[in-house]
């Protein structure tokens, strides 16, 4: 056994040991929110210092001054108008209060990590972890035991355990009395590498018995090319009047080093896949220079080298060759290409590492493969049934890498023929799309932007509605971020988490190497607001924390039904405890 094999074997044994138990996702998300608001406070104070210096200290701090909001809003509209193609500046919609009154009821939560939740035919359905299962339990590794949960009122729930081979399911749908589960077959926990096929399971009795079928996919593991290292896959399922639609994006990653010609092999040589085959690079030419440059950067970070030292050490690397985009910025690619071959030249004429597929069932039982309607490099990140058709949120990584944070929205009446809707120009990542009040709507996830985008009836233009304007006024420091959005038959529901605090101390000096001080510089807490509308104009606003008599926390699951909204809320008890409390809240309205 050579040193590489021995090393790999040793590390594999270390890898198989029990995973270390961390603080758990709840505590980590709380800490992350603290960092986010500290960063925001520090940034706001830094900006204030600059402004004060610029005007000779003549400016008074007025947090959230109306004038400032107007200027910011006008500026934002101008920017959107500049960026939006075609028909001119979209108007910023007006969100008004006075939405439907919701009558709330709550119960201790029983749902765990919830992957899908919705209402259909008067019942709530959820795909969630089995009772008592927690992500943070030592030794707990996905896929976790899961169950189908059902409830008539959203407060009292019953569950049916899923068999182990269905734990990999992550999408749940409902149509014409049938439940649909989408997952892999068998469980990806089976490390044999054969859990690669996509399976739809159908239940006619609310999740107790399932009939499963493997989708007629051609995204099969490549044969005769050695071990598949890993597989990435995005799966989505949507049910609507025209049928049940499934999208699957699959990429296989192989051991590409096996294709390096023997005479070229060495520690400084590596093969990488291209769109059509492989390319082999030799890194040895300038690796020592790179090492000296990297070392100089590290010394400068530690105060032991100057900018001039770095410039001198890195000068040889600055020849205008091919640049690569790393997360440290563009840098010169110093690799030398020593070999290239197409799959055909390698004797793998039919080899295909990437697949993008759609499968449609018109009768809700038998699925057939339908043509992929988007760019070959695109991934469907959300697929929803929208009454008499489908909506898809499509991300094309090739576009994402070079352009703004855009997501394409497409719609289809039959699951086969698709039409791209106008691009959304957003300051946040568009994460949710759906149908509310018979209009197509989309919502982004971001910080200090909470715009709901509404497509006009002609399908030509998106108008953003600024939902932060609906939040109660506050004179101190605040930061808002969108925690979730759902669209359903009765309207649109959006959760905005708002940190509000009093500025009590200046930010602490940051310790070396720390991104944030970690000190509490603002005195306050998070309030989670549920914003609901049935007509996209009048909104009701509820402080979820007050409904549950809890503090801080977050809303990990949200569903909009025919005449009610359900949310799962995890918050701390008012008396203060480290243990988060799980709540289920149902708001029912009439009219």
């Amino acid at each position: 056994m050579d040193v590489q094999e021995r090393l790999a074997s040793h590390l594999e044994q270390q890898r198989l040991q029990l995973p270390p138990a961390g603080a758990g996702p709840h505590a980590i998300m709380q800490r992350g929110r603290r960092y986010r608001r500290n960063r925001q406070v520090a940034g706001a104070l830094g900006m204030l210092a600059i402004v004060l210096a610029a005007v000779g200290g003549a400016v008074l701090l007025r947090a959230n001054a109306p004038e400032a909001d107007i200027v910011a809003e006008e500026s934002r509209n101008e920017r959107i108008a500049d960026e939006a193609p075609g028909t001119g500046a979209p108007l910023v919609g007006v969100a008004a209060s006075g939405g439907p009154a919701l009558n709330w009821a709550s119960a201790p939560g029983v749902l765990g990590f919830t992957e899908d939740i919705f209402e259909a035919d008067g019942m709530f359905y959820a795909l969630s972890t089995a009772p008592g299962v927690s992500w943070s339990d030592p030794g707990m590794q996905p896929p976790l035991p899961k169950a189908i949960w059902t409830s008539g009122d959203g407060l009292a729930w019953e569950h049916t355990m899923l068999s182990e081979d269905l734990w990999s399911s992550s999408e749940l749908g409902f149509r014409s009395g049938l439940l649909y589960l989408l997952g892999t077959a068998p469980s990806p926990g089976n490390a044999a590498g054969d859990g690669l096929e996509t399976r739809v399971s159908i239940s006619a009795d609310g999740g107790r018995a399932w009939d499963s079928q493997i989708l007629p996919s051609v995204a099969t593991p490549p044969e005769g090319v050695g071990e598949v290292h890993w597989v990435s896959r995005q799966r989505e399922l949507a049910a609507a009047d025209p049928g049940v639609l499934v999208s699957v994006n699959t990429s296989y990653h192989l051991d590409y080093q096996q294709f390096i010609p023997p005479e070229l092999r060495g520690n400084m040589v590596e093969a990488e896949p291209t769109a059509t085959g492989i390319r082999v690079y030799d890194y040895s030419a300038l690796a020592d220079a790179e090492e000296r440059c990297a070392r100089a950067h590290e010394l400068r970070a530690g105060g032991q080298a100057t900018d001039a030292d770095v410039e001198a050490a890195c000068a040889v690397l600055e020849s205008p060759d091919t640049t690569m985009a790393g997360d440290q910025g563009a840098y010169v690619d110093t690799r030398e290409i020593v070999y290239e071959a197409t799959w055909e030249e390698l004797g793998l004429a039919d080899f295909e590492p990437r697949f993008a597929e759609m499968h449609l069932s018109r009768d809700g039982r038998a699925f057939e493969k339908v043509p992929w309607p988007f760019a070959a490099s695109a991934t469907v990140s959300d697929l929803v049934g929208a009454g008499d058709g489908f909506l898809a949120l499509v991300r094309d990584l090739a576009v994402l890498e070079d352009g703004p944070l855009q997501a394409e929205v497409w719609r289809s009446a039959d699951g086969v023929t698709w039409q791209q809707l106008p691009p959304i120009v957003a300051e946040s990542h568009i994460q949710w799309v759906g149908l509310a009040d018979d209009r197509i709507v989309a919502m982004g996830m971001g910080t200090d932007t909470a715009d709901l985008f509404v497509l006009d009836a002609a399908g030509a233009q998106w108008s953003p509605i600024d939902l932060t304007a609906l939040l109660p006024a506050y004179e101190g420091f605040q930061e808002n971020w969108v925690g979730g959005a759902e669209f359903g038959p009765s309207g649109a529901a959006v959760v905005i988490s708002s940190f509000r605090g009093r500025l009590v101390t200046p930010p602490q000096p940051q310790a070396e190497g720390e991104e944030y001080s970690g000190e509490q510089v603002a005195d306050g807490e998070v309030t989670n607001y549920l914003l609901f509308t049935s007509d996209l104009t009048s909104w009701s606003v509820e402080a979820v924390n007050e409904l549950a008599d809890a503090h801080d926390g977050y809303v990990p699951a949200l569903a909009v039904g025919e005449d009610r909204v359900l949310l799962r809320y995890v918050g701390g008890a008012p008396t203060g405890t480290d243990r988060p409390i799980n709540h289920q809240l149902v708001g029912t309205f009439s009219g």
């Binding site: 090393l7 040793h10 986010r36 190497g513």
Partner: protein
Amino acid sequence: MERAGAVIDVRPEFPAFYARAHSQVARALGVTLRDHDLGTEAADEAMARCYAHWPTVRDYDNPEGWVYRVGLNWALSLRRRLARRMPHHQPAATPAPTIADPRIHDALGELDVKLRAVVVCRYLLDWSTDATAAALGIRPGTVKSRLHRALQQLERKLGDLR
């Protein structure tokens, strides 16, 4: 990015990403730092920062790489600060519960932490050269160079022990 035979779903929500990545990154940091408790603390800290930046980090090709680097930088910074404040203090590192190959374990321990980080990314986390380079914020050639040096040193050390 995961090990052989694994299937992953891309662009998960944070709790799912935490469930998938935390133990993997914590273990990798424990091996890199030679201290499993510190590795777990570093993974927690990096995960919190990841959540603070989640709308951006979730779109990275390898968000685990971002978490690994932030955790590693945090832990090394912590050690430097402790060393300055308590120059004669040697913190008691907590090793892995069991050590599969003590000689490899010892030889790895003698590597500079920068070399060990590359070894961990390539052999424990099974990341490509480019993914390792992006995770550590260095160029791909530097990854190859450090890996080459690490393997040479390991071979030399294991040869001495034969």
